[in-house]
């Protein structure tokens, strides 16, 4: 068992720096999810921990030992790959046993470990099959089994569920979490799927363009996103953004579209006249009477999801064809807005997020 | 075998630096150096030399060997003869293979059995192919010569240069049909069935479909095969000619490769043979470049 310490890690390919100094201290047994859009450097970071990428600058230590120059096999880690990377010519048993054989474990020990992992993952019946004779979910389990038998101090997951269909993904997500709790092994998990990130993580690292935008628990990240990027990336449907100016001596927001919002007790001091980005999640809009409305939407599309209803609309003087700029409001499942209807809403008291115009940081 | 420059980036992941890769390529490089680069270099060097008949003295003559070849009517004749031979072999083997493949592509029943019965000549060595055909056409005994005689045609490829050429073309074509057939059939079978069905719905009959849909779609294969066939006729038919005619009668079936062998090993004209080798190498490189140019284009297509 071991924690992982990542200290000011940088990575460059030639003159292009793709990671700009990541710092995170991962406690023993913690489940960390690295989330970000594709190309943000999240896989690179994971592969550096695995020892599959050279570290350009900084230190990675596992269990207190700096491993920058240590071979992957000696880092006491195991990795589950996106495409599983099962050896196609070996049976499930051989796949799981291969690494153990190279560790020079005794035959009995190997058999015991494989049997135990197979039992845990319910793949005992397939041990003689080749990977191509297995379904996607079964392959996924074998890949996990191959990691488990190594009995590593750290599990590394590189988007392990992205090749599965939606339903299986949910099941496997739960299983991975349960397994990790049971084995109590430090885990790093890379994904671009924010639902996976939110549900799995003890703590999240939100990576954007090689910078760690925020490292915190899922709930903190959802409730207090540290930047506009994090706010937009985490949460579905994505947060609504507006541009506006703080007015009324820090009591009001004047949106560019002309609407006025109340700031309430959001801590903005001496900010009168400051331009800001304003973020409001879809569920933080409450329908209201026209006269108390902060925003009046012309409903342009309705998505009825059963448990909830999403109304997409446009404020009066905005382009009502461009759904990239539509405002989305989450309503109760039984609400039935109609396209063309006018929907007056106001922001709930704790629903406001303000970000700096220039650097996107939370105010 | 085709590749684009971008592909040279190769794998994202590598093993670390060590002496190992050098050891791994060493055998291949060693053989390449000793048996390819060195002789090729020597051929180029030799082609600038003239050696007297007893090998006692050599003289550096720059391009004189090439000039001699250029002025040698025999060599020029050999060149055009080789071109004629190659084109004939390519034309006949491609046409026959195309017809057979077109038919085989149509029939579902027995398709595999037919293929089996058409591909085996590929495995026959050129010199054996030559032996088969020379036996059939043997002027005194051959079964075909005998039959021709019954129709009043006196076949004798040992005396008649035109007949000798016809015979080596037949033997060379015979051996190459199976190769072409395989590639044509594979190309035809890779055409999406929906395309053929669409044209059938448009009202095209089998022949029309072949010429308007199938044939244009297999053009890349046809071009590829044309190049391969020409290379085959240029370089791999030595055995056929050696077995059937030994270049005769009176040099009427001597093609370039045969002449290199003949001048070098029988005539012992080292400089001349070497400069012919150099010309052949240039031809091979030229053909290869054309092929790669075309293949690059084909990738877009």
């Amino acid at each position: 068992m071991a924690g992982v310490n990542i200290q000011n890690i940088k990575k460059s390919y030639g003159s292009v720096e793709v990671l700009h100094g990541i710092n995170v201290d991962i406690k023993d047994g913690e489940f960390i999810v690295i989330v970000g859009a594709s190309g943000c450097g999240k896989s690179t970071l994971l592969r550096m921990v695995a020892g599959l990428e050279q570290i350009t600058e900084g230190d990675i230590s596992i269990g207190g030992r700096i491993v920058n120059e240590v071979e992957p096999k000696d880092r006491d880690i195991a990795m589950v790959f996106q495409n599983y990377a099962l050896y196609p010519h070996m049976s499930v048993y051989q796949n799981m046993a291969y690494g153990l054989k190279l560790m020079n474990l005794s035959k009995d020990e190997i058999e015991a470990r494989v049997a135990k992992a197979a039992d845990m993952l319910q793949i005992g019946d397939y041990l003689k099959r080749r990977p191509r004779e297995l379904s996607g979910g079964q392959r996924q389990r074998v890949a996990m089994g191959r990691a488990i038998v190594r009995e590593p101090s750290v599990f590394l997951f590189d988007e392990p569920l992205s090749n599965l269909d939606a339903k299986l993904r949910v099941t496997m997500r739960l299983e991975i979490r349960a397994l990790q709790r049971r084995l109590d092994v430090t885990s790093l998990y890379v994904t671009h799927d924010q639902v996976e990130a939110m549900t799995l993580a003890d703590r999240l690292i939100v990576l954007n363009d090689g910078y760690a935008e925020q490292i915190d628990t899922p709930l903190n990240i959802y409730e207090k996103p540290a930047s506009e990027f994090v706010a937009g990336f985490i949460g579905s449907p994505p947060m609504n953004f507006f541009t506006g100016t703080i007015s009324g001596n820090g009591k009001q927001l004047e949106l560019d579209t002309g609407s006025i919002m109340q700031i309430g007790d959001y801590p903005v001091e001496n900010s009168h006249g400051r331009n800001v980005r304003i973020g409001v999640r879809a569920e933080k809009f409450a329908p209201c009477n026209k006269d108390e409305a902060e925003l009046v939407l012309n409903v342009a599309a309705v998505e009825t999801l059963g448990s909830e209803t999403l109304a997409h609309g446009f404020a009066d003087n905005t382009d009502s064809n461009d759904f990239n700029n539509s405002i989305v409001v989450k309503l109760a499942g039984d609400a039935r807005p109609v396209v063309g209807e006018v929907l007056p809403v106001r922001v709930m008291p704790d629903g406001l997020h303000l970000f700096d115009m220039e650097n996107g940081k939370r105010i | 075998m085709l590749f684009s420059p971008g592909e040279f980036m190769l794998k994202r992941v590598h093993f670390g630096p060590s002496w190992l890769p050098f050891a791994l390529v060493a055998p291949q490089i060693f053989i390449t150096l000793v048996f390819f680069m060195w002789p090729a270099g020597q051929a180029i060097f030799q082609s600038f030399l003239i050696e007297d008949a007893f090998g006692l003295s050599t003289e550096f003559v720059w391009l004189d060997n090439f000039k001699d070849l250029w002025n040698d009517q025999h060599y020029i004749d050999t060149f055009s003869r080789t071109a004629f031979f190659s084109l004939m072999v390519a034309f006949f083997s491609l046409s026959i293979a195309l017809i057979l493949a077109g038919m085989a592509d149509r029939v579902v029943k027995f398709a595999t059995a037919y293929r089996t019965m058409l591909i085996w000549p590929y495995a026959v060595a050129p010199v054996l192919a030559g032996a088969l055909w020379v036996f059939m056409f043997d002027p005194t005994l051959g079964i075909v010569a005998y039959t021709l005689d019954m129709f009043g045609y006196d076949w004798n490829h040992k005396l008649n240069g035109g007949e000798a050429m016809a015979l080596v073309i037949m033997a060379a074509t015979w051996k190459q049909i199976s190769y072409n057939f395989l590639f044509f059939l594979a190309a035809m079978q890779s055409i999406p069935k929906s395309l053929i069905e669409a044209s059938a719905i448009d009202g095209a009959g089998p022949a029309r479909r072949f010429w308007t849909i199938i044939f244009p779609l297999i053009t890349p294969t046809t071009f590829f095969l044309l190049v391969v066939n020409i290379v085959y006729a240029f370089f791999e038919t030595f055995g056929i000619i050696h077995a059937v005619t030994e270049g005769g009668p009176a040099g009427s079936t001597t093609i370039l490769v045969y002449k290199v062998y003949n001048d070098g090993f029988i005539g012992l004209d080292l400089g001349g043979s070497a400069s012919q080798s150099v010309i052949l190498m240039a031809i091979v490189i030229f053909i290869t470049i054309i092929q790669f140019r075309y293949i690059e284009k084909k990738v877009d297509y």
């Binding site: 096999k73 | 089996t116 088969l132 079964i143």
Partner: protein, 283 residues
Amino acid sequence: MIENRPIVTFISHSVIILGIIIIAFPVWITFVAASHDALRMTQSPLPLWPGGHFFENLSEALFVGLDVGGASQPVALMLLNSFVMAMVIALGKIAISLLSAFAIVYFRFPFRMGFFWMIFITLMLPVEVRILPTFKVVADLGLLNSYAGLTLPLIASATATFMFRQVFLTIPDELLEAARIDGAGPMRFFFDILLPMSRTNIAALFVILFIFGWNQYLWPLLITTDQSLTTVVMGIKQMLEAGEQLLQWNKIMMTTLIAMVPPIIVVVSMQKMFVKGLTETDK
């Protein structure tokens, strides 16, 4: 089939069967000739139907051979030579090509591209083109009349290297990474993962290369003067030269038949591999 037109189908079948008959005819004639006695084979017209001396001719050719103006060489010995040559060339080519493709794909090292192009050039130059200087090199090295001289110059192969390179490039990078995490070094990865994963390609290539090796003619003709190294393909030519006087067409044709059969068996019995090997190495 898209439409059902019995006539068109009938024509298709007929054309193919006609093609098969024409293509097989020379071999039929050879088979017929190999089944008659020597006397019958001097009488015109030659027979079109097999005679009764097939096995007699077979055993005589195999174990006694044909007097070609010197020692008589049993064809069995020639077959052995052909087999050894074909096997050494095929396996040798595969081995050195696998290794160099592995180096070029999985390592970054100085001169990597230089080596790559050097191998590429060998592809362009068939042995027939540089026959005389190569002969000189082999003679200078004292390799005339040896299996080494017979096979080594034919072993370097760009084609096989390219094919394996292509195969390796399609193997996902993650397998190498998984193997590294499992603790496999380069050679272990090569033997445990790469080799087993390439085995169908190896088999396909083997078919092609075995035929290539078996059918070598000009090269063995030049560098072996020792009768005991004669391959069966070369043997035919010597017999053809002598055949005019000896009038033993039955045995010459029997030998031709014997020389053709092994590669044909390989092609037909491993047809799937053969087609794969052919279409993937050349394209």
